[in-house]
């Protein structure tokens, strides 16, 4: 006596179709569970993709030099002994250009200044750098030109404005060629940066950029905030990192008192954090899958108590306990499978809607989530239906048949 799998499927399908309302509700529950997992993981993946993309826009093949040595926990051990780290200087930045692996170097100073034109005045973030900053950050000009190629220590009185700052200071007036005032000095506006949207760290639209030497005078400092070094290739990143460490150490009397990080390190940290986030939100949504599993168990229990007489009859005409368990598990699996498939459609539709609403978010559910979620849905259904199935198989046929 072996049942044919086609017969089991047929019997289970007829059982599902025989109770359309209940089956429909279960499908909805399963579909919502599966769909929410898909939508949430798509959101997480979207966020990850967005951040990764943003980092790429900050610069590719980047090696970043920071003053001070950050050991475990970012502590500066020198500071404990009253020993301040040596400054990064413009000389250090120039020295870093002397390697064939280095594409370009941009020193960076950052400070808050007051900018005024006529009666209008704004407090903004000022960046001090060189002409190399524009290609390193992949920025574009809206008008005029960027900082000119000149000696790194020449404090030319020229400035490049972000678009918002231009609008705030000049309103409808033409800005190019006008003189503005930063603190107590006058600068000529030579270019307007095209707005590249909110980039991590700096809103370029609200920024003013001046030559690094001028920025150091305005901020009254000799030291640099960062040195951005762009390697010629991805493979060049590690050698350039070594070159930077050695060069700076040689200039700092052999002390390794700077921190050299790569864009990759920062990026992979963010990548890890956001992947963890994706798994976390996916896991939370997974709870709704478990809930759907418990719902299936309840529904199967109800189904069995409604069909007690039928199970008694199946026993009377020769169904074994195994066959009865099989019927119920297959019924539950079909329910879960079709629910999951509807959920996949829902989830993809949801992710599509997110992409439609937020075009910057590449919200696609990862393929492994799609695969896993269907598997988990069916497994949950089977596991949670084992108990009702066994209790059905154990029904006393005489009592079952006497029930109506």
């Amino acid at each position: 006596m072996t049942l044919h799998s086609r017969d089991v499927m047929g019997f289970a399908t007829k059982a599902l179709l025989g109770y359309p309302v209940r089956t429909g509700l279960m499908l909805v529950a399963m579909a919502i569970g599966v769909g929410s997992v898909l939508v949430l993981t798509a959101l997480g993946e979207g966020a990850r993709g967005y951040v990764t993309g943003e980092f790429a826009s900050l610069g590719t093949n980047m090696v970043i030099v920071l003053p001070g040595r950050s050991e475990t926990g970012g502590m500066n051990p020198g500071a404990m002994f009253g020993d301040t780290p040596r400054d990064l200087t413009l000389g250090d930045a120039s020295a870093l250009e002397r390697s064939p692996r280095v594409q370009r170097v941009a020193p960076l100073n950052v400070g808050s200044v007051s900018v005024s034109y006529g009666a209008r005045s704004r407090d903004v973030v000022m960046l001090g750098s060189t002409h190399a900053l524009l290609p390193i950050r992949h920025w574009r000009m809206a008008q005029g030109r960027f900082l000119p190629l000149s000696d790194i220590d020449r404090a030319l009185p020229v400035a490049v404005l972000g678009e918002n700052l231009r609008d705030e200071l000049f309103a409808a007036e033409p800005a190019l060629g006008q003189w503005i005032r930063i603190a107590d000095r006058r600068f000529r506006v030579i270019g307007i940066l095209a707005s590249s949207g909110q980039s991590i760290g700096v809103d370029t639209a609200e920024t003013i950029i001046v030559p690094v030497a001028a920025a150091q005078q305005l901020l009254n400092t000799q030291s640099l905030f960062r040195i951005l070094v762009e390697a010629r290739s991805r493979e060049g990143i590690e050698p350039v990192k070594g070159f930077v460490e050695n060069t700076i150490a040689a200039r700092h009397q052999g002390e390794r008192d700077v921190t050299v990080t790569t864009q990759d390190a920062v990026l992979s940290t963010f990548d890890e954090i956001l992947s963890a986030l994706t798994i976390a939100v996916g896991g939370i949504a997974g709870i709704s899958l478990a809930v759907a599993g418990i719902l299936i168990m309840n529904v199967m229990l109800v189904a069995i108590s409604e069909r007690t007489a039928e199970i008694g009859l199946l026993k009377a005409i020769g169904a074994t306990s195994r066959q009865i368990i099989l019927f119920i598990l297959v019924e539950a699996s079909l329910l879960a499978l079709f629910g999951a498939l509807i959920g996949l459609a829902l989830g993809h539709a949801g992710a599509w809607a997110i992409r439609l609403g937020f075009p910057t978010l590449p919200a696609y559910p990862p393929w492994w989530v799609v695969f896993t979620v269907v598997l988990v849905a069916v497994l949950t259904a089977v596991i949670f239906s084992l108990f009702p199935a066994r209790s059905a198989a154990k029904l006393n046929p005489v009592l079952a048949l006497s029930r109506r």
Binding site: A309, E310, G318, A319
Partner: protein, 243 residues
């Protein structure tokens, strides 16, 4: 009718139970549903079991159908001791050797007449093509061929019981157990159902029928009367109304 010429070949002992007890525990009381019942039934016999409610006749039928287990005693079906069989083996015996007809028909409501009749063959693993043929001929034999795609709710009581009889006999069992098969039917369809059952006896089936109705019960060639879980009367007299 069940009584034409007696076959000359020796009768096979189809059912043989000896000293069967079936006790239930209700609260802290022991109820003796069957108390030391012994009975032998030969192949092809037509037996009615009568008695007041609670006399144990349904319990006896359930035990004979392997739906229930005796507390004590031995049961041989067609020469085989079935009390010692495993659950799976008992299920196979129910599928192959025993047919059940119930008062409530017990058709699966969402399946058509043909699908209901097909169920025992499906459980037995018979191929779909063969099942179709056997189901169709079974329904034709009962005059139900034009109702094969109807669901139970679209059938009259008498038609439902015919479908149930087709299902009970589709695996060609040796024994048919009928529990009040006419109890839910009007006089006309009840009579039709009895005639179908008797025609099966004519073809050699062993029929045991539990009934309240003396009119029905007296048609059997052998009439058992039960009282308080015991066999009170075993009457082999010829039926008084065989017309």
């Amino acid at each position: 009718m069940a009584f034409g010429l007696k076959p000359l070949k020796p009768r096979i002992r189809m059912i043989d139970i000896s000293h069967i007890d079936r006790h239930f525990r209700v609260g802290d009381q022991q109820v003796k549903a069957l108390d030391d019942v012994s009975l032998c039934i030969d192949e092809g016999e037509y037996v009615s079991i009568m008695g007041p409610s609670g006399s144990g006749k349904s319990t006896l039928l359930n035990l004979l159908g392997l739906l229930d287990q005796p507390t004590a005693g031995r049961y041989r079906l067609n020469g085989q001791d079935v009390t010692s069989l495993s659950d799976i083996e008992q299920a196979h015996v129910r599928n192959r050797d025993i047919g059940f007809v119930f008062q409530m028909f017990h058709l699966v409501p969402r399946l058509t007449a043909a699908e209901n009749v097909e169920l025992p063959l499906m459980l037995a693993g018979v191929q779909a093509e063969e099942r179709q043929i056997r189901v169709q001929s079974a329904l034709e034999a009962l005059g139900m061929e034009d109702r094969s795609h109807h669901r139970p709710e679209q059938l009259s009581g008498g038609q439902r019981q015919r479908v149930a009889i087709a299902r009970a006999t589709i695996t060609e069992p040796k024994v048919l157990l009928a529990d009040e098969p006419t109890g839910n039917l009007d006089r006309q369809s009840g009579g039709d159902v009895i005639e179908i059952l008797e025609s099966l006896v004519d073809r050699g089936l062993t029929l045991l029928m539990v009934t309240h109705d003396p009119m029905m019960g007296n048609r059997a060639s052998r009439q058992l009367k039960m009282l308080d879980g015991r066999m009170a009367q075993d009457n082999r007299a010829a039926p008084n109304d065989s017309a």
